[in-house]
């Protein structure tokens, strides 16, 4: 498709170069560190799971043991391998007999790293195979049913996974292609992942592996009936980013919200912590074929969507580069943006179209995630339905990939069954009645749309230069994004960050790198 905006291509390239420079700096900082959740993730991918009588997950217990009684700077891998080696137990036996106060991991002398890798190899292989099997299943289903140019995405958020299933199935039958199970409000700040099927949450349902499994099964069933592959989404951002990525890989989720910037800005998570976690989690996603979704859209719910549009683009360039470094392909980069300009602004729709088309042209192969109006939605449900119509039109006109449906009750409550149905009907009417609009409608040469897009690109370029001249840490400390300032050593989760010792190993990460280098 030919460019409709005539964007300055060299400026785009320059932005990418700047983003490289910016992420280089970050990488330097994070390479030397690991976090407790990274280590727990290693355990999970070796097959460690379960909780004790206090509902503490086993991975937490084990890592905590090493933190307290061992030397976590060496990584969990060496501890678990040493324990297996010396105890002569299988991993399953170790898990079943695990007891924190017994020092099950820390009571043994540590073995050689090579030996450790060898011991853990079969476990890694088993879980990698499961993940690859999932990937194959997903691809097969895509082949069978085909892919949509635009996927309709809705959320369920009852707090009860079984109610969520009812609602998710209803949505899929009504035409939704992607179902996201929103997490309970508190979860991203928990430094562990809850366990088992859950039926109580606030504003969402806990992300647990069992819940993933239950919903995956339900969506596969409805997909079979509907002859469509229904994608499942959950949220990784937060203090357990890589663990959730691992669980998602195992349970064949298809999309994960996965963005440090969101965690830092909107959840006050420590930046060191979450940059490290993000990198590892994205590697897992890259391997599992899971699309990541980034949270740039959120900037516009806090700051003004017209004047701050360029911060979204700048952040997308940075997120793209972070993703590349974790071996994610463009096809898995669901960069976020949003339709959030105040509709009271004259020609706001044209500005929205400019911004959406700009994102589309700058990231042509990325499955862009386009968020609906939320901030300027009021309790007037009829008006909200109109605003969502405009959003759906902008989506159709600019060919967005992941189309998050706006709810007429956005300002009121998490969606009712009928709200979701009406949202899907709205979008489907637009998709149908405007099927060919993207090819049919052209934009005026040097008109409002073209000008707006260039302007945003230029401002993003300036912002990236500015960030590159200091650092992303600095930018975050100074509230460049969404006007929120976060100190380098503030926020939640810093105590879970540690410097890696020279003999640190992470068997999963190493195995992943091997796989990436194979291809």
């Amino acid at each position: 498709m030919e460019s409709k905006l005539k964007l300055n291509q060299s400026l785009i390239e320059e932005c990418r170069t700047l983003a490289k420079k910016i992420t280089d700096e970050v990488e330097k900082e994070i390479k030397t560190r690991s976090t407790v959740t990274v280590e727990r993730t290693v355990l999970r991918l070796l097959g460690v799971d379960g909780v004790n009588q206090f509902d503490e997950p086993l991975p937490n217990q084990m890592v905590d043991e090493v933190v307290e009684k061992g030397d976590i700077s060496k990584g969990i891998s060496i501890y678990i391998a040493s324990a297996l080696y010396h105890s002569g137990l299988s991993l399953e036996q170790l898990i079943n007999n695990y007891n924190h106060s017994d020092n099950c991991l820390t009571k043994y002398p540590l073995i050689k790293t090579n030996k450790a890798k060898e011991i853990l190899q079969p476990y890694i292989k088993a879980s990698f195979e499961r993940i690859l099997e999932n990937r194959k299943t997903r691809n097969k289903l895509f082949e069978r049913y085909g892919k949509n140019p635009t996927d309709l995405y809705v959320i369920v958020a009852t707090g009860n996974i079984y109610e969520d299933v009812v609602q998710a199935k209803a949505a899929a039958k009504a035409g939704a292609d992607i179902i996201a199970v929103i997490r309970s409000t508190g979860q991203s700040l928990l430094d562990y992942v809850p366990y088992g099927a859950t039926t109580e949450g606030f504003g969402g349902t806990f992300a647990t592996q069992e819940n993933f499994k239950i919903m995956r099964k339900a969506l596969d069933e409805v997909g079979l009936e509907e002859k469509r592959y229904i994608k499942l989404v959950n949220y990784a951002s937060g203090l357990c980013m890589p663990e959730i990525a691992a669980m998602a890989a195992i349970e064949r989720l298809d999309v994960l919200l996965n963005d440090s910037m969101y965690g830092i800005i909107f959840r006050d998570i420590n930046m060191q912590r979450t940059f490290i976690d993000q990198h590892f989690s994205r590697m897992i996603n890259a391997f599992a074929g899971i699309i990541i979704n980034t949270g740039e859209d959120n900037y516009l719910t806090t700051s003004d969507a017209y004047s701050e549009a360029h911060t979204v683009l700048a952040s997308q360039f940075i997120n793209e580069e972070f993703a590349y470094r974790a071996h994610l392909k463009e096809e898995l980069m669901g960069l976020g943006h949003a339709f959030e300009i105040d509709p009271e602004i004259e020609d706001s729709f044209l500005y929205e179209v400019a911004q959406a088309q700009m994102a589309r042209e700058i990231f042509p192969n990325a499955p862009l995630k386009y968020m609906p109006p939320t901030k300027h939605i009021s309790g007037n449900v009829f008006k909200a339905y109109e605003q969502n119509t405009l959003f759906n039109i902008a989506t159709q006109l600019t060919g967005q990939s992941i189309h998050l449906l706006g709810m007429m009750t956005e300002a009121i409550h998490t969606p009712f069954l009928a709200d979701r149905f009406l949202a899907i009907s709205n979008a489907k009417m637009i998709q149908k009645s405007m099927a060919s609009i993207r090819e049919e409608f052209l934009f005026k040469q040097d008109g409002i749309i073209q000008k707006r897009a260039s302007e945003v690109l230029e401002k993003a370029n300036q912002l990236l230069s500015q960030i590159a001249s200091t650092s992303l840490f600095d930018a975050l400390e100074n509230g460049i994004f969404a006007g929120v300032k976060r100190p380098f050593s503030g926020g939640k989760g810093l105590d879970g960050v540690f410097l890696k010792s020279s003999d640190y190993i992470n068997v999963v990460s190493d195995a992943l790198e091997v796989r990436f280098n194979e291809n």
Binding site: T158, N160, E163, V166, S378, G379, N380, V381, T409, A411, I412, H413, T414, P415, F416, L417, A418
Partner: protein, 242 residues
């Protein structure tokens, strides 16, 4: 089974409401809106939107839960359910039970000028993929069009010895359709013809319940097609014949 509205979770009783009150959008306005919602049974009503739409008139959107339960086992189905007979079934039924054509006469009566509804039921080409009565073997269908006076309608029915009368009514403001529908029944009774015909009303705002109240045999609303009406009428005629 006892049921309740389902918003976000089973049995939560959630409903959405909107209305205009002759008040202004201020604290008193909210109280008035809540008061009304409470009278309607809403527990903890939330006034989620209010907006002045004219001096002293305010539009409200309200959400809340109702405590009421509906006992589904006690519900009466007041509508005529689609009998699953196809055009061919119906034609066969007529052939088997009658050795003559059945006569259907239809019109949009009184001052009502809407014909699309009655045409949908009667015309050859039908509507939404359902052929109209004119195409049915065994049925002679007369569509008198719109703005047909009841007197004229009854005269014609007598002339062609109608078996079934189809009356369409679309305009319902100030219950003009009710007056008109009652007038027709009265005329038929005065002419001693009521018992000779199956009398059917139809239209967007017509329900079976309403039609029966007014002395009709049946009433058909939106999404009803020729085969629904024909199936019903033919079965009633067969019964009558016995």
């Amino acid at each position: 089974m006892k049921i309740r509205p389902y918003g976000d979770t089973s049995h939560d009783g959630k409903v959405q409401l909107s209305f205009t009150l002759p008040v202004s959008s201020n604290g008193l306005g909210i109280s008035a809106a809540k008061e009304l919602a409470k009278k309607m049974g809403l527990v903890n009503p939330q006034v989620v939107h209010m907006e002045d739409i004219h001096e002293g008139y305010c539009f409200f959107v309200v959400y809340g839960s109702v405590p009421y339960e509906i006992e589904t086992d006690l519900l009466k189905n007041e509508e005529i359910e689609n009998v699953s007979l196809s055009k061919e079934d119906i034609e066969a039924l007529i052939e088997r039970n009658f050795n003559r054509e059945l006569v259907f006469v239809g019109a949009s009566t009184g001052s009502d000028a809407h014909t699309v509804g009655i045409d949908a039921i009667m015309n050859m080409k039908g509507f939404a993929g359902h052929y109209g009565l004119e195409r049915y073997k065994g049925i002679r269908a007369y569509n008198l069009g719109s703005q047909v006076e009841n007197e004229e309608f009854v005269r014609f029915a007598r002339k062609v010895k109608a078996d079934v009368l189809l009356v369409s009514q679309t305009v319902t403001q100030k219950d003009v359709h009710i007056k008109n529908l009652i007038h027709l029944v009265e005329l038929l009774e005065a002419e001693n013809m009521r018992k000779d015909v199956i009398l059917i009303a139809g239209g967007a705002r017509i329900t079976n319940e309403l039609a029966k109240e007014l002395g009709y045999d049946a009433g058909f609303g939106p999404k009803k097609y020729a085969e629904d009406v024909a199936a019903y009428a033919v079965e009633r005629l067969i019964e009558k014949n016995k």
